[in-house]
Symmetry: D2
Subunit: 484 residues, 4 copies
């Protein structure tokens, strides 16, 4: 179809960022949008300007006011035109702001990276703080479902095969536990995440020092004010033109790790849905597939797994910058960070948004769960029977051998004939096992006992999450958006 690609109205800005437009929340988008970024930079310039003024530089007070009055006059087309001409993005934004204000006072003693690195670090830190709250909110939701299904016994599986019973609540707590571990890393990272600060072209702070006639004390005050303006707890000492790019890797690999427990939960829900023991939720009006309307596709949990892989791609990109700095800095990192930083946050935010829906809307099919349990119970009990046999004096290896023989035979028979199993009778009749069929049936009846300490583990998890929620009460205010 040769002419099909002709699109007379094609406009280079017509391609939306898919991750932002389909998956991320408005709050996060607000932090990273192009216009939002322009405003952040302008406020940063004004903060520096005001501090320079306060600390004695010769700056007319009315210039500051002039800049402030035009902060919100953001004309992206005009800025783009300037960039086309200068081939320098920061320069374009300086010119635009100065022309609007009618002054030439901002950016004094600054290099591009004094502006961009610090503003980007602000975006990163704020994004992490925002996502931290959402993560707590998600943990809270996981906690609720874990409590609900605390004692609902289900076949536990390893290697995808029935292994021992567990409970649905415990299973959720297991994924939640993984989330808690990742959360601890995020918390530590936010606490120590350092600002580069105003360090100049090669990190020696020369230009501010020159501006202030070599007065290191006043430069230090300036640095301090900038740090406070941006809300950071500390700043780096010896840096180059840029902050170390391994910090970006720290951040985005942390997002990836935060996704681990969520992605595991999603994957297991997908597996359960195929076995009809659970559903991720099916919204009224939703169409399974255009051809097969009844199909309750696990589109949200599949999306979660997809988004996790996407975050992994950004880990790859930002990981590739680690160790690739030349001297005091170069900007082969520039285009990479321009793409990977916002997109990693958008993708991860989309994952959280989707997960909030899944955890709230998921359901379990108790009848199917019960039937599955019935089918596998004699097999699931073999470890207990082995333990019990050993406790009654059997040699571990001999008992193990007997159980193996009969269990394998029974399992094969069951699959080949598609019937229930006769494992209980086979074991009861074997003299290597010091239990008869009645003993075994007695044991099987106490099926609830087979879940070991599952309930206690749920309780501990619930306590841990509750404690976290108390630490972050704002998390309760988070509301999830609509899924596309």
């Amino acid at each position: 179809m040769p002419d099909s690609t002709a699109d007379s109205t094609a406009d280079s800005t017509a391609v939306a960022n898919v991750l932002a437009s389909r998956y991320a929340s408005d709050a996060l988008i607000g932090l990273w949008s192009e216009a939002g970024r322009v405003r952040l930079e302008r406020r940063f310039w004004i903060a520096v300007l005001r501090a320079q003024f306060d600390l004695g530089l010769d700056i007319p007070a009315e210039a500051i006011e002039a800049y402030e009055s035009v902060v919100d006059k953001v004309d992206l087309d005009s800025i783009r035109a300037r960039e086309q001409r200068t081939r320098h993005d920061v320069k374009a934004r300086i010119e635009e702001f100065c022309d609007l204000a009618g002054y030439e006072h901002i950016h004094k003693g600054l290099t591009s990276r004094d502006l961009t690195d610090n503003v980007e670090q602000y975006q990163i830190l704020e994004s992490m703080r925002l996502l931290r709250l959402k993560y707590v909110h998600l943990l809270d939701a996981v906690k609720d479902r874990a409590e609900t299904w605390r004692d609902l016994v289900i076949v536990g599986r390893t290697h995808h095969a029935a292994a021992q019973p567990t409970t649905v609540g415990k299973r959720l707590a297991m994924f939640g536990q993984e989330m808690l571990e990742a959360f601890a890393r995020l918390d530590e990272l936010i606490a120590r995440y350092p600002l580069r600060g105003l360090k100049g072209a090669v990190g020696t702070g020369l230009d501010q020092l020159t501006l202030f006639n070599g007065d290191t004390a006043r430069v230090a005050q300036l640095q301090e004010r900038v740090q406070q303006h941006l809300g950071f707890g500390r700043q780096l000492g010896a840096v180059g033109q840029v902050y170390p790019r391994s910090l970006d890797f720290d951040v985005v690999s942390c997002l990836y790790q935060l996704g681990g427990g969520i992605a595991n939960l999603a994957r297991t829900v997908r597996l359960m849905a195929g076995a009809e023991t659970a559903t991720e939720g099916f919204v009224p009006g939703q169409v399974g597939s255009s051809a097969m309307p009844h199909k309750m596709n696990t589109r949200s949990t599949e999306r979660i797994n997809g988004l996790q892989l996407i975050v992994g791609g950004y880990v790859h990109m930002l990981g590739g910058l680690v160790g690739d700095q030349w001297f005091e800095g170069d900007v082969s990192c520039s285009v990479v960070r321009r793409v990977a930083l916002p997109d990693a946050f958008f993708a991860f935010d989309g994952m959280l948004e989707t997960a909030l829906h899944v955890v709230d809307e998921m359901g379990v099919y108790e009848a199917v769960i019960a039937k599955e349990l019935e089918r596998f119970l004699p097999f699931l009990a073999t470890t207990t029977l082995l333990m019990e046999s050993v406790r009654r004096g059997a040699g571990r290896e001999a008992a193990h051998e007997a159980i193996k023989e009969h269990a394998v035979a029974a399992a094969l028979a069951m699959r080949q004939a598609n019937t229930g199993s006769n494992l209980v009778d086979l074991l009861g009749a074997d003299e290597r096992i010091p239990l008869d069929a009645t003993d075994i049936r007695d044991i099987l009846e106490h099926c609830d006992a087979f879940v070991g300490m599952a309930g206690n583990q749920v309780d501990t998890f619930v306590e841990d999450v509750s404690r976290l929620c108390s630490r972050y009460p704002e998390a309760a205010q988070i509301t999830k958006g609509r899924l596309l």
Copy 2:
């Protein structure tokens, strides 16, 4: 700055795709834009509908006309609203198109993936064809510069240290050679890239077969027509709901490989720029940096290296889909491909666009090149001196030892005192070397001979590229866009 993120006008579509808006060409964007995609799908539906009509299905001719008349009425907002309601993107687009046309005839016997996989493969194949031409155009430009500098002798470096002389033209031919190898892969890939075709929900073609009352011959004709409509040379036989995702990996890993020679060229230009032997070009009006205006930053070559890393991130994402298919297909791949496929093409296209500028605009500083050569010539000649000594009867290891001693001493002295070297005299005086200082100076004077077969290699490269340009005459029509 607590209020800085509040952006009352924030609109979730306000975030542009950075790769598209800043780096990719209009032609490529046209293939992947949202509206363009809608039109491609509609034309695909009509092609199927017309084929079904021709092959005897009961479809009113006026329905086809009705659909055709509304192909270009693309209202993305309306489609988005429908998707919000149905939570199903394809369903939303079917409804929109049918409502516009006033008929319900498209998508007969199709599943979502019959539509989307085939249209996406069309986008992919067309993108590869487009980029193939641009790549030939770039090779042509590299060839021109290689010819220009065919005999300009320069210090060749390995491990970043001066090794032997080569020529600037040969250096470019070396990177061009790597590009040619990658090009061969692209060419083969385009030739064999297979269409999935209309295979239905699980790949058995059931639904079309049902529509045609089990007439496999007519279904085969339908398949053939769809293949021709999309311009593919072949199609897959046994598939599932989707085509194998390892094909996406083939495509994007090929892009990454195509970037190898370009990225090597860019990296070496960056290194040369730092040593002042070359420049990537400096456009009048461009500002080196806002603080240091004279600085001729290698922003384009740095960008090329950054974009290569970005493509690598998409290789990671699409690589993660390889081997992760469940049964006849699942769409955990959906969001990943939605992001990674267009963005990989945008990034790679941006790399080609940037490279076209660099190759055309780069320059060399002959005076600096000559001075560097003068400094290192006695050292660069050591392999020749070693060969010559061996040829005159010296033992290889003994001569090597002598040269090593003197060369290391001379090199150290030169760096510690920052003077020229006395290597010639040291070697001439050593009896392990059957050459005296005069012999050595004679050899050094024939410096042009030190470049071995560099010139011939350039010639061969030029011939190879010329042949390629003859095969793809349309490549000459490509014009590069403006860089941002």
Copy 3:
């Protein structure tokens, strides 16, 4: 346990390469072992020496004999000791070989990379050829199973949910088809894989040219002989110290792609095993797990998926070298290639070995398959019923809506009560569907027809693979090793 790590006998060579010792075949290991490599290099040196002798260089014939007589005297400890001293691995191996032979004639006009790059390319090409045969052998095995189960109907699944029927044979053909596509790439790659050749320190061929007094014709003959000795079809023209590292990426990304179909097959077998419809095979004597002996863990298919991920890690490593060449070459690639090249081949070979076992030993449980089919048949038929309804005059969207309503209701009921479904009756009674319950039951009875063209697709696949086996008759001789 503080003292537990003390291991008085610890020897730095005591750690075996896990991939080689546990998973790879002896044939592949032979190509990459340390001693094997030493012998390859020595034969390479002798080939060059003999060619130089034939082409007129002044080399004593008895020196060649002396070198030949000690080719197999490989003392790795001695070589290692020399490397410790010189900090240069190639130098160490030259000295060892020369001392053994009592001559100093090898390596004339060569640089380290003239030796190592060419020998490594030989290892790579031979490995690809070896694995090509094994891959054909595996395809042959997949073909056999596809034929066996050509008509065994099974529930086809997409999104892990029952979608439409297919056959087990078709499912295998689907994975086999993906393998065939990747195979085409491998075949093309082997055909075009180019040798670097003897190009000297910076790729200009200076040193050989000097040795031959500037006689380019004789140097060309030498190049040609080396190429033939190594069994390559072509060689590169303009290179640097090394061949372009994007070639390594081409090779290892091809291995990864070759793994795609296999990994998909493995993943689906894992999924089927959990649903008890298939087994990857269970060898007599094998223990499911130490605690649960009956458990038939899918250890081989899990291993396949794990090995695929491992190959992906090496793609990452070698991908990181692409575009990172400085000038004519540097060896930041050295350690990376030393690890990633052999290990990628070992991992992929282990994957093939494991897959040969799985494909040969896998089984299906027909009774379970039949029961699953029975459960889902009314749902699986909905696309057929929709098509049939449309054919009988129903509007597509209205019929779709009716089917959706009833199918969703029936599916929910079935899961909530764990009974069979009443979908047939519900649909038969709905007037939007021009079929009554009897019509529907008639359709369901022709369940075999629901697999569409599955059988034909299997037949085509079988033909394709048979043709391939004819092209590579040696593939039939491949025997699989034992699994650990």
Copy 4:
């Protein structure tokens, strides 16, 4: 060369782990060697056995003694033969140990993963502790060199172009600062790294609970003892068969981050070596290259960059396990972790070992540094001149424009003619700049002032590292191994 690969003595264990045998230290290898691992497991079994005995299980005291007496009888061949038979590695090691001891008492109530996950976590934690000390030692070395060169002025570069002066000491402190940030992460990770503990087949602790007749208190005591035996500060609550694999990603991505500052230092040393301002050190007896003996190749720093990429490959592998858990666990992770965990530690350890040499042995060529500074000084001063002009009342943009014009012209002239620059005179004569040539020369003379706060930053860095060394006094005992 058809027969060249035949290697009659080929033995599948003959391939050594390259990373262990060439790069890692004996201490680390001792933690991960096959025999060492067997001993760790045996001590773990005995610890559990003894705890079970103490807590009242019916175990003969002499059995414990019997096991203890054979801990060091490690016969890897025998174990391998058992594994060949059982196809189960843990089972093989249980049988071997029991046969040696003549008892069947170990592994009671344990599953394979109770053994392997815990022992592997021990290996991981101990490795991190070991590397933490080595990292402190390396930081100490960086600190020493930073002090030495605290005031040695050098051209600072960004985008590889001369930007502003800095000092060599500051440059090292900059890389050291990045290391300190990564160190903080490692420290936090070690502090919180949690043990999985004895949780049984699906994580419910069922089997131990059964062994102890449902006495949860005694099971808790058992858990506690195991944790103490392994030296962990905490353990996980709700887990499955395995600990969450995102913990492995945390660990190995931390190693990668720790490598960032080192790899940046290495890359910059490579760049400096090419410009002859520094050397990574050149050991007496070392050969530059076999063909060019004088070449002081940056093999160690190249190796560091290569090893960093290798660690990145293992991040990829272990990252691929994150979010891929099925239900309570599966072992598609098994082969991946078997390869990636030890190899990541070996690679990172090799990087530290190499870095210790580089930092100790590197040197700078002061004469070359001085000459470079002289060439660029007028350009480096432009920011200062701009600041000074602004301070004297010039408009920032106008002054910037003037400086740009003259600097660009002077830079071009200098490169085209290869002379010094006349920038000072050009600027002095321009009326937009309120400075004359004399003013400018005065400023240039105070070149030391151009390094801003470089010295203070070094001092702060030195203090930070000194504090760290006090916290980890054992770090001073670390000795580096020999490099191969």
